[in-house]
């Protein structure tokens, strides 16, 4: 449970794109990291089925700067069965024939301080302190299961222990309704329903309302 101080990790990177769903084909980023992106970063560093991450606060450490790029991307998804077909019958995939130029309005030079809690699942038997310590050790060593990223896989994130000097930027802003997370369907199909919440940036800090997590528990 959320006893004591939340766990902290600092993440930063050259680029970030926390894509707004309403502008997803031609991506436009939210101005700040979303709770689900923060959860993704935490899960990349440490995750076990015994617990879930509840993000409490996201501190914005660098001024919000936008950056726009156009890239060649493809129209298709990678599908396992199609790839199997190539293995059997030959053929392959030619990106040049399946191209789409897509624009991204991304963020530049970002840094965030994520504060989150480890919340144990019902079937967990160990003490939460075990996982908290494990997480701290992993952050100190720079260990991760996969490289954490800032919204898009191609925007890799650096992470580390905060040194206490971190200060959020001076900015109060009404961010409107932003994505909280997805309610994944229980059939493991990967389908989900997006959940939104009204977000405010107060003195550079995005506080995630705890009641958003109550639904799941």
């Amino acid at each position: 449970m959320a006893n004591g101080l939340p766990l902290e990790v600092k993440v930063w990177g050259d680029f970030a794109c926390f894509t707004r769903p309403e502008m997803k084909a031609e991506r436009v980023s939210y101005p700040v990291m979303t709770p689900s992106a923060a959860r993704g970063v935490l899960e990349a560093i440490f995750w076990k089925p015994e617990f879930a991450w509840h993000v409490r606060e996201i501190w914005v450490l660098n001024p919000i700067r936008h950056y726009s790029i156009v890239r060649n991307e493809v129209n298709s998804k990678a599908v396992v069965s199609t790839a199997h077909g190539w293995a059997e019958n030959g053929g392959g995939y030619f990106a040049e024939e399946d191209r789409a130029q897509r624009h991204t309005l991304a963020l530049r030079d970002v840094a965030y301080l994520i504060k989150a809690d480890i919340v144990l699942s019902a079937h967990a038997t160990e003490d939460v302190a075990k996982y908290r310590d494990q997480f701290r050790r992993r952050v100190n060593r720079g260990q991760c299961y996969h490289r954490p990223y800032l919204g898009c896989r191609e925007f890799a994130a650096e992470f580390g222990q905060p040194d206490g000097s971190e200060q959020a930027i001076v900015l109060d802003d009404d961010l409107g309704r932003i994505l909280f997370d997805l309610n994944y369907a229980s059939d493991r199909s990967g389908r989900g329903v997006p959940v939104f919440f009204s977000a405010h940036l107060q003195a550079g800090v995005l506080k995630v309302p705890p009641q958003l997590y109550l639904r799941e528990a």
């Binding site: 707004r20 769903p21 309403e22 502008m23 997803k24 084909a25 031609e26 436009v28 101005p31 936008h66 726009s68 991307e73 493809v74 129209n75 298709s76 998804k77 789409a100 130029q101 897509r102 624009h103 309005l105 802003d173 961010l175 409107g176 309704r177 997805l182 994944y184 199909s189 990967g190 389908r191 989900g192 329903v193 997006p194 959940v195 939104f196 009204s198």
Partner: protein
């Protein structure tokens, strides 16, 4: 955020009724009270021109692609009268017509409006052969009915009926109508639209029929099993409102600026004290002066509005989609101050020494490329606009573009000189009121002096050989601006015979030029081997300033002489 603010703005507009859209209608079918045909009446005077699509009416709208979906009471000839177009099949026209009649019938039954009944009566006893068609009538034209001089589409009950029907149709059309989602914009639990009915139009390079903002049209754009516009669930009402607001802003004279492939739109919460679009697009010197004064003095009327939010966004087109290129959320006061700085930085004398006028985004951007229609990248106007509205420095690559263009053209134009000045001086947080507007005789910067020197040497050549085809500037501007040491020795030696000739023939000109040459040279100990990017910018300004000062002096001289002659 953007969509939310657009929807908020739509509340201030006098919009068409829900599910209604401004549509050009070419013909009115006049009926009497009992539905008997009277005549076809053209909505515009000059009927007959092919391009004329008729006068715009607010008419029932529904998005349609290839399927048969009838609009209520106003549609093309295929739907209204069942007459096939040149290239379409009669079977399809019959089908369209049936759908149209059905639509009118349910409307008449639901609303009970007498005029709709009259239209229904006309449609039920329709015999196309009996109608007298005007010469230039075509089934592709749009038409609607007029009963006893009144348009049924304008009736309130008809509008309400259509809103309910079309929105309901939309729900049936959306795959997950049984699963309401919380709307991204208003936050209410409503059935989301699968495809938006209203499109954003008039974005440069985009489809004329309009484009959708939210659309996942290929698998790679989909998420979590959500397709088309469901990736970002929006309710019909919000979708329609933000689209109509965006269209209104794109059409408004004062609310949009089109630069190359981008269209910028601006709006505020509440009234707008100045037109950003006009200031950035075609700035009038008087407006600019007023803006600068109000920003530095802060009159009470102005400061009262200063805290109000100000929004700007840039759209471009990518096939059938809208691309959001930029998004700005600030306050009127900020914008006023930044705009004032933007124009203060633009202050530079004209070639003839007169007070300079401000430039629009287009002129400044165009100065960095050879062919503005083909080469101007959207990044250029975007960077300028960003600086104008948000403040801060211009990016250095813009200075590089301008300097590169100087070298390619072997010279400098006034818009480019202005751009270089802005790029150089916007780097400094505080700018002096009148820095670098005019020739600065005391500036000891070597690059600046080199620029002045080139202008003086050119003047000597011009005086000695009037009408020379290629001046030294035409040949050496590029090298002189980047590596002065390699050319100036030669240029100065080359000027000696010119000076000698002037000394013999035109003593007055010789003395003036000799003096000017000395003035510049006395502070120039050696010529720098190379100049950095910033220095190359200063070189350009030095050259520009010196030439403008020379020209001004020449004009003053001439005037004085004319006065003496009088």
């Amino acid at each position: 955020m953007l969509l939310e603010k657009l929807r908020e703005y739509s509340g201030r507009l006098d919009l068409d009724p829900p599910m209604y859209l401004k549509t050009p209608i070419k013909w009115l079918i006049d009926l009497d009270g009992r539905g008997r045909f009277i005549n076809f009446v053209p909505t515009t005077q000059e009927a007959g021109s092919k391009k004329d699509r008729g006068k715009e009416f607010s008419a029932p709208h529904i998005g349609r692609a290839s399927g048969v979906r009838a609009k209520l009471l106003a549609d093309n000839g295929e739907y209204v009268l069942g007459l096939a177009r040149d290239k379409s099949k009669q079977i399809r026209a019959d089908e369209c017509h049936r759908a149209f009649v059905e639509q009118v019938r349910t409307c008449a039954d639901t609303t009970g409006e007498q005029s709709v009944r009259a239209v229904l009566g006309f449609l039920e006893h329709l015999d196309v052969a009996e109608l007298s068609f005007p010469k230039d009538w075509d089934p592709a034209h749009t038409m609607t009915f007029r009963v006893q001089g009144l348009l049924p589409i304008n009736l309130r009950s008809v509008q309400e009926y259509w809103c309910a029907v079309a929105a309901g149709d939309e729900e049936a059309n959306s795959k997950s109508a049984d699963m309401p989602m919380s709307c991204l914009i208003c936050g209410q639990l409503r059935p989301p639209v699968k495809r938006h009915q209203f499109k954003i139009k008039r974005i440069p390079g985009g489809q004329t029929s309009g484009m959708a903002m939210i659309s996942a049209n290929v698998p790679a754009f989909e998420s979590y099993g959500l397709e088309a516009s469901l990736i970002a669930p929006t309710c019909q009402q919000c979708g329609e409102q933000f689209t109509k607001a965006a269209n209104t802003l794109i059409e408004g004279e004062d609310t949009h600026v089109t630069v190359g492939p981008l269209v910028y739109i601006f709006w505020t919460k509440g009234e707008q004290p100045f037109s950003v679009a006009t200031l950035l697009g075609r700035p009038e010197p008087s407006d600019v002066r007023a803006l600068i004064e109000s920003a530095f003095r802060g009159t009470t009327a102005a400061t009262k509005l200063d805290g109000r939010p100000f929004y700007a966004t840039a759209f471009s087109a990518s096939g059938g989609r809208v691309v959001v290129r930029d998004w700005l959320d600030t306050t009127i006061g900020e914008v006023r101050r930044n705009l004032a700085r933007y124009f203060v930085l633009q202050r530079l004398i004209e070639w003839d020494g007169a007070e300079g006028r401000p430039y629009g985004l287009f002129a400044l951007g165009a100065s960095t490329v050879h062919d503005v229609n083909r080469e101007l990248s959207p990044q250029v106007p975007k960077a300028l606009l960003h600086m104008a509205l948000k403040g801060g420095p211009l990016p250095m690559w813009l200075l590089f573009q301008a300097v590169k263009r100087n070298r390619a053209e072997q010279g400098i134009t006034r818009p480019r000189a202005v751009l270089i000045k802005m790029a150089l001086f916007s780097q400094r947080p505080n700018i002096g009121e009148d820095s670098m507007i005019n020739l600065n005789m005391s500036d000891q910067d070597q690059a600046y002096l080199c620029g002045r020197l080139l202008a003086v040497l050119e003047a000597i050549q011009r005086e000695a050989i009037p009408g020379a085809k290629a001046t030294i500037t035409d040949r050496f501007f590029g090298t002189a601006s980047s590596a002065p040491a390699s050319v100036f020795g030669r240029l100065i030696r080359g000027a000696q015979p010119h000076l000698a000739r002037l000394r013999k023939d035109r003593r007055g000109a010789y003395e003036a030029l000799e003096k000017r040459l000395e003035e510049v040279q006395q502070n120039l100990a050696t010529f720098p081997k190379t100049l950095t990017l910033q220095e190359q910018g200063l070189f350009g300004l030095g050259y520009y300033h010196q030439r403008a000062a020379d020209r001004a002096a020449a004009i003053a001289h001439k005037q004085a002489r004319n006065q003496q002659a009088d």
